[in-house]
Amino acid sequence: MKRTPMRHGAATLAVALLALSACGRDADTKSTDTGDDGDTTSTESGGGFIDPAQDCSDYDGTAGITGDTIKIGTVRPASGPYAIYDTVTKGLEALVTATNSKGGVKAGDGKTYKLELVKGDDGYDPARTPAEVERLVDQEKVFAIVGEIGTSNNLAVRQTLNDKCIPSIGLATGSTEWGKAKEYPWFIGGLPSYATEAHHLMEWLKKEKPAAKIALLYQDDDFGKAYQASIETSIEGSDITVVAEESFNPLTETSPESKVAALSASGADVFFVGIGGSPCPAAVKAVPANWTPLTLVSVTCTGKLAMALAGGKDEGLVAVQATYDPGTAADQSNPKIKAFFDEGGAAGLSQGDLEGGIAAAGWGFGSMFVKGLELTDTVDRASLMNALWQLDGVNYGLMLDDAKASTKGGDDPWVIEDLRIVKRQAGSWNEIAPLTSYDGTSNDFAG
């Protein structure tokens, strides 16, 4: 009881301190980190898809640009079973190094910018992504997120980044969610829509195997379910049927072997592998000797590195392709691949990484960002997005020479929509059906 007055004193002190300090920190601690051209507050972006004056509550268009250096961030798994995807980021990093060693990017505003890349590791666990992205945005003050890996991982931060008006460019995912540019105009995917990919495979199948019986293995998340939904929609009205389905959860299961065994007993003559990471080639490897289906694999696992994990069962696999494959001899003479080999090699990529296909993907995501910078009249967040939202038949990175990237804001939010079908033959991917353009229609296959 004796202590009561002192306690009251302490409590009063605490309350007083709280009340006083309430005004201690300014409501906006975000020091507007304007570059040296802070006065040219993008008049161009007014007419574009994004209008920061209308779309953003507090917008800082040039955060992350210091002098002539633009800082970008990415999040990827550098540990755990999906660490194979770290190679994507190695490719992105190589592009940044290669760009800087060429002197930088000559942006549309006439200046030349160097790039700086900061990385976060979320172990492919979407529960860990928000903290990593917060660190990149609030601590590192990156200008944009480029090539972040994983559908669920990107979804975990979509709301936050969109609210803060921070560009997310060349996402390493093709989930149909990235077609929702009207709701989330700050997100732009780096891969073809998984739905378009599956649709294209189904269209090809209708000609090649009109009565196909499909055994479907899909990843139990937005990535795999995009395949599932698109297949269902695409085979409607045809004689193709899905005779068996198994889902695979990358976070709780380690090997898809038992799922493949179950599917092999279904009597299917087509096996669709709609999973990613190292479990994808593991599923191909697990196909038993007495089951000889035509196997279709996800575009995410067509690289040489993934194929090497298929236990010699990669012969005859069929997949969709939108870019050249650095692991295929015929493609290696292409000037783009040659440049990738020279510059990427000089930037530190090993021969295995160069040919593996995964690093090439990251190189492509970075190239999309660079392309956007080249096209934008003003280098700020909204103008860059607007440049990417009105692409008019451009070609960048390792895209097939005849492929064109066109976008039109929310009406055509997909960058890569020109696809061809390739078959794995003697360690190479050979074209078996020519380039088909789905420009402006990718959202139709989302199911």
């Binding site: 309430a22 409501a27 601690t29 979407p126 529960a127 928000p130 609030d138 669920s152 976070l251």
Partner: protein, 365 residues
């Protein structure tokens, strides 16, 4: 202990707690928004550890399933906010009730199963929980997660999801992150106060009696079954409050946050802080928070010449440190502090050249 010594002891306690209170209240004023959000996320960890400590430290029941109960709180809150649009504090309270019921359900087998076997049962709960979330991914969002959102017309007139976040009322003059910190700190302070009073009450003495000797407690008239089950329930409710706050802060829940690893972190917080103490779980949570948010990001991703990923080795480092800590200070941080204080008290009482008085155990709450 002499009256003067006791007074000095009491005074020093008041001074130390006063300084602590000031520091804790001033933190969001000193730190930027990023760090304020990070330390706010330590609050749910402290609450879950508080719940676990009540069960393990005071009642002697081991649970490695609190990650699941924490998850039940988080998902209850997410679903309540999404479906019924309740106020956030009401959702937290509702989650506490739901978790109390869930805790009682998990606690029932504990009447027959003890020690290691109880740990195994709760281990099963912890392992099953993420699988259950996957099984009902239509409702829970599975590993992709479930965003806590409202459908709102956005500025361009498109109906879009908007995250439900903690927003500071304008009269406070505080930023949203600062407001969230103070509100949840107040919730946590309330919970800690409730637990402190609970363990000092008759029920609390029953809990401790059961921990120390169940048969003796029963002979003395303690209703062992009811006390054990209720302790499990209260403990789960506290974990649920923690989970609810976690969900609100993230505006999103996903199964990856509620794995066995979460349960183990709670256990580590209890052990590091010092079990069977009120401040222990909070101190342990701060220790883990510092480790996760300050130490880990500073670790290099590649240690030459072996190209080791030190960041990925975080659990290994944490485990090693835990073993060393247990060898050096089995009572955790609070235990060590008590020992230190007792030693200092002995030294202070020793007259210039008189005999050494018997050390007392007084002065500890």
């Amino acid at each position: 202990m002499s009256a003067a010594g006791r007074l000095r002891d009491t005074r020093s306690i008041i001074v130390v707690s006063g300084v602590l209170v000031v520091v804790v209240l001033a933190l969001p004023q000193v730190l930027d928004a990023f760090w304020t959000r990070r330390i706010t996320l330590w609050i749910p960890l402290a609450l879950a550890a508080l719940g676990l400590n009540l069960l393990t430290g005071y009642n002697g029941q081991i649970s490695v399933g609190h990650g699941a109960l924490y998850g039940v709180g988080a998902y209850s809150t997410a679903l309540i906010l999404n479906e019924w649009k309740w106020p956030q504090l009401a959702a937290i309270a509702a989650s506490a009730v739901i978790c109390f019921v869930a805790g009682v359900a998990v606690g029932l087998p504990a009447l027959r199963i003890k020690g290691l076997y109880l740990a195994l049962v709760t281990l099963a709960v912890a392992t099953l929980f993420p699988q259950v979330l996957e099984q009902f991914s239509g409702t829970t969002g599975g590993s992709a997660g479930l965003a806590i959102t409202n459908q709102e017309m956005n500025r361009r007139g498109v109906l879009a999801d908007r995250a439900i976040r903690v927003e500071a009322p304008t009269w406070t003059g505080l930023a949203d992150d600062q407001w969230a910190y103070y509100v949840f700190l107040a919730v946590a302070a309330l919970c800690f106060l409730v637990v402190r009073n609970l363990v000092r009450s008759r029920v609390g003495r029953s809990m401790i009696a059961i921990r120390d000797n169940e048969v003796a407690a029963e002979v003395s008239g303690v209703n062992v079954a009811i006390v054990k089950v209720l302790t499990f329930g209260v403990s789960a409710a506290l974990a649920g409050v923690g989970g609810a706050i976690f969900a609100i802060l993230q505006a999103r829940v996903s199964s990856g946050s509620f794995t066995l690893v979460a349960s183990l972190y709670f256990l580590v917080a209890v052990v590091v802080g010092g079990s069977a103490s009120i401040a222990g779980p909070a101190i342990g949570a701060v220790a883990i928070g510092l480790f996760q948010d300050v130490v880990t990001p500073a670790l290099p991703e590649s240690v030459t010449p072996w190209d080791l990923n030190a960041k990925a080795a975080t659990p290994l480092i944490l485990g090693t440190m835990l073993i060393l800590l247990m060898l050096a200070a089995p009572g955790g941080i609070v235990g060590s502090a008590r020992q230190l204080r007792a030693r200092l008290a002995v030294r202070a009482q020793r007259p210039a050249d008189g005999p050494i008085p018997t050390p007392t155990t007084g002065g500890t709450p």
